[in-house]
C-alpha cells in the first residue's frame, strides 16, 4: 500500500472539508441531536445482570430453581447488639418487630418473614407436639415472660436447636431478619414496575436502605446490616455509579486542561470539548435508542478513553497544522496538508484501537462485550468528530507570514528528539540487549497472575460501605457469599427413601469440611430439609434429644416428610419440592477466594457424583457465579488478547505490505504488555472484569505510535534513502507528538489512580505503566530494531 497515494486521497478529503464546512457542521449538529435524544432512555444494568446469557448453564439452573422454589433472591437484616445485653430485651424485640413489619409492609414482592418474633418452633412434650411462635401474644413487658420466650428460642444447644447460630447467635447478641420474595411477575410487576423485571431488585434494595436508615432505627445500642442481591444493587447504584461519574468528570477537566494548553483559545477549547462530548453522548444515545443498557461498572473506561483519544487525535492534527502553518503561513493550505499527512495514520490507529476492543466481543461475558462494542464505537465516533470538526475549526482565521527561523518548521524539542534517534541507532545493539533483559525479568510475573472477581476484592476497603461489608462478613452470623446445591431425581418421592436421605446427610457433613464454609459456634452454616426433619422427629417423640435425627426407616421417614410438608409447609417448601424428588442444600461462606472456590466447586461436584449417581445436580449462587466468572475472565483475557494481537498484526502486515515489517512493528507493542503482565503478577493485581481489559487496550493504543512512526519512517526512506536519516526525521516530526499523546493518555487515566474503588485504581496504575512502557519502547527498542532489521526495504546509499 503506497502511503503517498493514501495521503493524496486524504488531501482531497481535507479540501472537501473546507469547501463544505458549513454544511458539514449542520449535518453533524443534526446527527448529534438525533442520537442524543436517545439518552432519555439511558439505563444501567446492575449487579450480575448481563454477566450470563439466558442460555448459560448458570441461568438455566437458576430458572430450574425458581420454577420449583420461587425467587432465588431474598433480603436480610442482621441485627447486632452493640452495648451490653442481647437481642431478647423488650426494647430490642420491638426494634426487630418494627423492622419486620416495615419489611413486610413496604418491600415490593414481600413474601415470608422470618425472625425470632415470627419463627415457628415445633416443640415436643409428653402429650404431643406444638408449633409455637415465641411472641404469639405480642412482646411482653414483664421479665418472666421475656425470659420464657428467650428460653423457648434458645432451648437446648446448637446441636439440637436449628435456630442457634443460624437465626440467632449462641450469645444472643446477633440475629437475622429474613424476607423471602415472590417471583418478580404478575400484577405487582405491572402496577409498580410497568412490567420491567430489571427495575425490581434496585427498587427493593433502596426500600430496604430507606428502612434501615430511617430515624427510628438510629441507635448506639445496636447496628443493622442489610444483605441480599437487591441491597447490593442499591449500594452499587448509590455509591459506585457516582464514583464512576466522578472519574469521568475529573477526566473531562483533564481533557479541558490539555485542550487549553494546546489550543490556547476559549473557542479552541470549547469546540473540541463539545465535539468529544457530542461524540460520546451520541454513542450512548444511539445505543439507548436500541435499548442497550450500559454496564455500570465498566462505563467510565470507554468514556475516559474516548476523551483521551480525542485529545490525542486533535494533537496530531493540530501539531501537523502548526508545522505547516509556521512553514507556509497559509491557513487553509496548512489544514489540507495536516489532513493529508495525518489522515491515514490516524485512521489506521483508530482501526487498530477498535480491533483491540472488538476482541472483547469474543469473550463470553456480556459486560465485557458491551465494553468492547461501546469502546470501539466511541473510538470511531470520536475520530469522526475530531477528524471532521478540528480541521474545519482550524480553517477559520487569518493567514500570517511564514516563520523562516527553521525551514523544517521544527522546534528545539523536535531537534532534541532527532538527536535522540541518532544516539539510539548508534547504540542499537546495547539498547536491544538492555530492553530484552528487562522484559525477560518481567515474564515470570505473568505466570503469577490470578483472577479475583468477587465484589469485596474489586471494590476494596476505601468505599463508604466497605467497613460495613467487612463487619458483616466477620460477624458471628454474618456472611456475604453463599451457594446452593440442588439435587434432582427423576422419580417422585426419591427423598422419602432412607438411602437418598443418608446420602444427603453425608453430603452435608462433607460440605461442612470445606475450607470456605462458614461456621458459627460449633456448627457449619448449612440449611437443608434435614434440620426440619430433625426438629419434627424430636417434637413427635416428646422432644427427646435422641430423636433429633432423621428417621432410618423408609415408612417413618416418608410419613415424617409428608407431615412436615403439611405442618411446616412454608419452611419445608423452601428446601424440598412437592414431589419429594428435588431438594436444595444452602451453604453460607466465610469469605471468598478464587482458587479455593474453584477447588471447592470441583470437590462438591465429585462428591455429588459419588453420592447421587442417579440424580441430576447443580450448583447455584454467588460462589458459583464468581468461580465461573473467574474462569471466563481468564479465558476471555487470553482470547481477547490473542484476537487483538492477531488482528493488529494482520492489519500491520497489510498496511506495510510486508509480513516482516508487520511482525517487527508488533515487537515494541508486546513490550508494554509484558511489563503490565509482570507488574500484575509481582504486585498481586488480580485479573478482574476491569483489569482484563488493560492488556488488549494497551496493545491497541501502543500500536498507534508504532504506526505513526513506521509510516513516517517509510516516507523518510522514500525521501532520504537512509534508515538513519529517516529515523531522525521521524523523531523530529512526531517525537514530541508521541510524547504528548502518551502524556495526555496517562494524565487521563491518572484520574483512576485516586479512586477509592480498588479496581479502578489498579486500572489507572496498569494503564499508565503500559502506556509509558509503550512510549519508552518506541523511543528505544523500535528505532534500534528498525535500524538492525531494516524491514522497509534497502537503503539507497550507505549511512555513516
Amino acid at each position: 500500500m503506497q502511503v503517498s497515494r493514501l495521503n493524496q486521497f486524504f488531501g482531497k478529503v481535507g479540501r472537501a472539508q473546507i469547501r463544505f464546512r458549513w454544511a458539514i457542521l449542520a449535518v453533524f449538529t443534526l446527527i448529534t441531536a438525533i442520537c442524543c435524544a436517545g439518552l432519555s432512555n439511558f439505563a444501567f444494568s446492575l449487579g450480575d445482570e448481563g454477566w450470563f446469557s439466558n442460555g448459560d448453564e448458570i441461568k438455566v439452573n437458576e430458572k430450574k430453581y425458581e420454577e420449583i422454589f420461587g425467587n432465588l433472591n431474598g433480603i436480610g437484616v442482621l441485627v447486632v447488639k452493640k452495648d451490653s445485653g442481647d437481642v431478647f430485651s423488650e426494647e430490642m424485640l420491638h426494634v426487630i418487630d418494627k423492622i419486620g413489619t416495615r419489611l413486610r409492609n413496604e418491600i415490593p414482592f414481600a413474601d415470608r418473614l422470618t425472625s425470632i418474633i415470627e419463627v415457628d418452633i415445633p416443640i415436643g412434650n409428653a402429650d404431643g407436639f406444638e408449633i409455637k411462635k415465641p411472641y404469639q401474644d405480642g412482646i411482653p413487658s414483664d421479665p418472666d415472660s421475656l425470659a420464657k420466650a428467650h428460653n423457648l428460642v434458645m432451648r437446648g444447644s446448637e446441636k439440637t436447636n436449628a435456630l442457634i447460630n443460624s437465626l440467632v447467635s449462641d450469645d444472643g447478641r446477633e440475629t437475622w431478619i429474613f424476607l423471602s420474595l415472590h417471583p418478580y411477575e404478575g400484577k405487582t410487576l405491572e402496577e409498580l414496575f410497568h412490567g420491567e423485571k430489571d427495575d425490581v431488585p434496585l427498587a427493593i434494595g433502596y426500600k430496604l436502605m430507606k428502612i434501615l436508615e430511617s430515624e427510628e432505627f438510629k441507635s448506639d445500642k445496636y447496628k443493622l446490616y442489610g444483605s441480599g442481591i437487591p441491597y447490593d444493587d442499591a449500594i452499587e447504584d448509590r455509591y459506585d455509579i457516582p464514583e464512576y461519574g466522578t472519574r469521568v468528570l475529573f477526566g473531562f477537566f483533564v481533557m479541558i486542561l490539555f485542550l487549553a494548553i494546546f489550543l490556547r483559545s476559549p473557542f479552541g477549547v470549547l469546540v473540541p470539548a463539545i465535539a468529544t462530548v457530542g461524540a460520546i453522548a451520541s454513542v450512548f444515545g444511539a445505543m439507548s435508542h436500541f435499548g442497550v443498557k450500559a454496564d455500570s461498572t465498566l462505563i467510565s473506561l470507554p468514556i475516559v478513553l474516548g476523551m483521551a483519544l480525542a485529545v490525542g487525535y486533535s494533537v496530531h492534527y493540530i501539531n501537523m497544522f502548526k508545522l505547516f502553518f509556521r512553514r507556509t503561513g497559509n491557513r487553509k493550505e496548512s489544514v489540507v496538508k495536516s489532513v493529508e499527512e495525518c489522515g491515514w495514520s490516524v485512521l489506521f490507529t483508530v482501526l487498530t484501537t477498535m480491533a483491540s476492543f472488538i476482541s472483547f466481543l469474543f469473550v463470553d461475558m456480556q459486560p465485557l462485550s458491551w465494553m468492547g462494542r461501546t469502546a470501539a464505537l466511541i473510538v470511531f465516533t470520536v475520530y469522526l468528530y475530531v477528524a471532521v470538526l478540528i480541521p474545519i475549526l482550524l480553517s477559520f482565521g487569518k493567514d500570517r507570514m511564514p516563520d523562516t527561523t527553521n525551514e523544517m518548521g521544527a522546534t528545539k524539542l523536535d531537534m532534541k528528539f532527532s538527536r535522540w534517534a541518532g544516539f539510539i541507532q548508534k547504540k542499537k545493539r546495547t539498547v536491544i540487549a538492555i530492553c530484552s533483559l528487562i522484559l525477560i525479568a518481567f515474564i515470570p510475573g505473568i505466570f503469577k497472575i490470578t483472577a479475583q472477581v468477587d465484589y469485596a476484592s474489586i471494590s476494596g476497603s476505601k468505599m463508604p460501605y466497605s467497613a460495613a461489608v467487612q463487619e458483616l462478613r466477620t460477624a458471628k452470623l454474618g456472611n456475604q457469599y453463599s451457594y446452593t446445591v440442588m439435587i434432582s431425581f427423576d422419580e417422585e418421592g426419591a427423598f422419602k427413601e432412607t438411602k437418598n436421605m443418608n446420602a444427603l446427610l453425608e453430603l452435608e457433613k462433607f460440605l461442612g469440611t470445606l475450607s470456605l464454609t462458614k461456621w458459627s459456634g460449633g456448627k457449619p452454616r448449612i440449611t437443608s430439609v434435614t434440620s426440619i426433619l430433625n426438629e419434627m422427629n424430636s417434637a413427635l417423640n416428646e422432644g427427646k434429644e435422641e430423636f433429633y435425627k432423621v428417621p432410618d426407616e423408609d415408612y417413618v421417614l416418608a410419613q415424617l416428610m409428608e407431615l412436615s410438608s403439611i405442618e411446616m409447609h412454608n419452611d419445608f417448601s423452601d428446601v424440598m419440592d412437592d414431589d419429594f424428588k428435588t431438594t436444595i442444600v444452602s451453604v453460607d461462606m466465610s469469605r471468598y477466594a478464587t482458587e479455593e472456590a474453584v477447588d471447592n466447586v470441583a470437590a462438591i461436584k465429585t462428591k455429588l457424583a459419588e453420592l447421587f449417581p442417579d440424580a441430576k445436580h447443580c450448583l447455584l449462587g454467588s460462589m458459583i457465579q464468581y468461580a465461573e466468572m473467574s474462569r471466563r475472565i481468564v479465558l476471555g483475557g487470553i482470547k481477547s488478547f490473542g484476537f487483538s494481537f492477531i488482528i493488529i498484526a494482520i492489519m500491520l502486515i497489510l498496511a506495510f505490505a510486508s509480513i516482516r515489517t508487520g511482525f517487527i512493528s508488533m515487537i515494541p507493542n508486546i513490550a508494554p504488555v509484558i511489563l503490565v503482565g509482570g507488574v500484575m503478577g509481582y504486585f498481586g493485581f488480580a485479573l478482574d472484569f476491569g483489569t482484563v481489559t488493560v492488556m488488549p487496550m494497551i496493545l491497541g493504543i501502543a500500536v498507534d505510535d508504532t504506526i505513526h512512526m513506521t509510516t513516517h519512517l517509510k516516507m523518510g526512506i522514500e525521501k532520504y534513502g537512509s534508515y538513519f536519516k529517516a529515523t531522525e526525521a521521524t523523531f523530529r516530526e512526531i517525537g514530541s507528538s508521541m510524547f504528548l499523546t502518551t502524556l495526555i493518555l496517562c494524565a487521563m487515566f491518572s484520574v483512576f489512580l485516586f479512586s477509592p474503588m480498588r479496581f479502578l485504581m489498579i486500572i489507572g496504575i496498569l494503564t499508565i505503566i503500559g502506556l509509558s512502557g509503550a512510549l519508552l519502547a518506541d523511543y528505544t527498542i523500535s528505532p534500534a530494531l528498525l535500524n538492525v532489521v531494516k524491514p522497509l526495504g534497502k537503503e539507497k546509499k550507505n549511512e555513516d
Partner: protein, 262 residues
Amino acid sequence: MKNLFLKSIVASLLLVSASFAQTANEIAKKVHDLPSGKTSSYTVSLTLIDKNGKTRNRELVSYFMKEGTTEKTVIVFKTPRDVAGISYLTYDYPDKPDGSTIDSDSWIYLPAMKKVRRVSGSSKDDDFQGTDFTYDDLGTRSLSKDNFALLGSEKVNGVDCWILEAKAKDTKAKVSRRVTWVDKKTFVVQKGEYYDKQNRLQKTLTCESIKQIKGYWATQKMTMTNVQSNHKTIYEIKDQKFDEPVNASFFTVSSLERELVK
C-alpha cells in the same frame, strides 16, 4: 331552595351509608350463621396446581358433629400412599361473650409411629394442609376479628350479590382485607378476593356447584388461586351428607389410635 336540596342529598347519603354500615355487619353475621347441620360427612378431593400446570392430588374424608356448642371434626387422609391413614381430630369452641376466641383442641395420628400426638399452635391464618386455603377460608372466621363494610352490589354469574368487605383488626394478619360477593337471597359466598398487608390482591376464590342438600346450602367446588405465586388449589366435595347418623366414637382420641375412622 338550592341549599335545602343540597342538605337533603347530604342527609340521604349519610342515611344510606349508616344503613350500609349496619347492613354489612348483619350480612356478615348471616353468612357466618348459615346452618350446616348437626352432622355431616363428605369426601374431599384436593388438587394442587403449580405455576407450570403440574398437578398433585390428595383425597381425604371428613366427619363433622356438633355437640352442644362444640364442633368436632375428624379428617382422614386416603391418598397419596404415604399420607394414607394420617388423621386429625379437632374440637372448635365458640367465641367467648366478650368476643375473644378460644383455642381449638387438635390431635394428629401418624400410622408410621402408631401414636396420637396432641397438636396445638396452628393458627387459623395458616395454610390448610399445605394448600392455598387457610383454615379460616374453609371454616367460619370469628366475626370479632374483622370490621365490615358494604362496598355495593353486583351480579355474579347471574346472581345478585352484596359486595362485603372484611378488614382484619389485627394489623399483623396475613390477609388484611377480604372482599366477598354474597348472594342477597341465600347469603352464600359466590366469589372472593383476598388482599395482603400491602393491599395487593393475593388470592381469588371462585365457587361453583352451589346447591341445597337437605335444605342446607353447600358449595361443592371451590378454587383458590394465589395470583402472586400462580399456585392454585381446587377443593371438591363429593358424597356430602347432612344430618345423617355419624358414629360419635369417631370423635375420640382412642378411635384415631385404633384406626377406626376410615
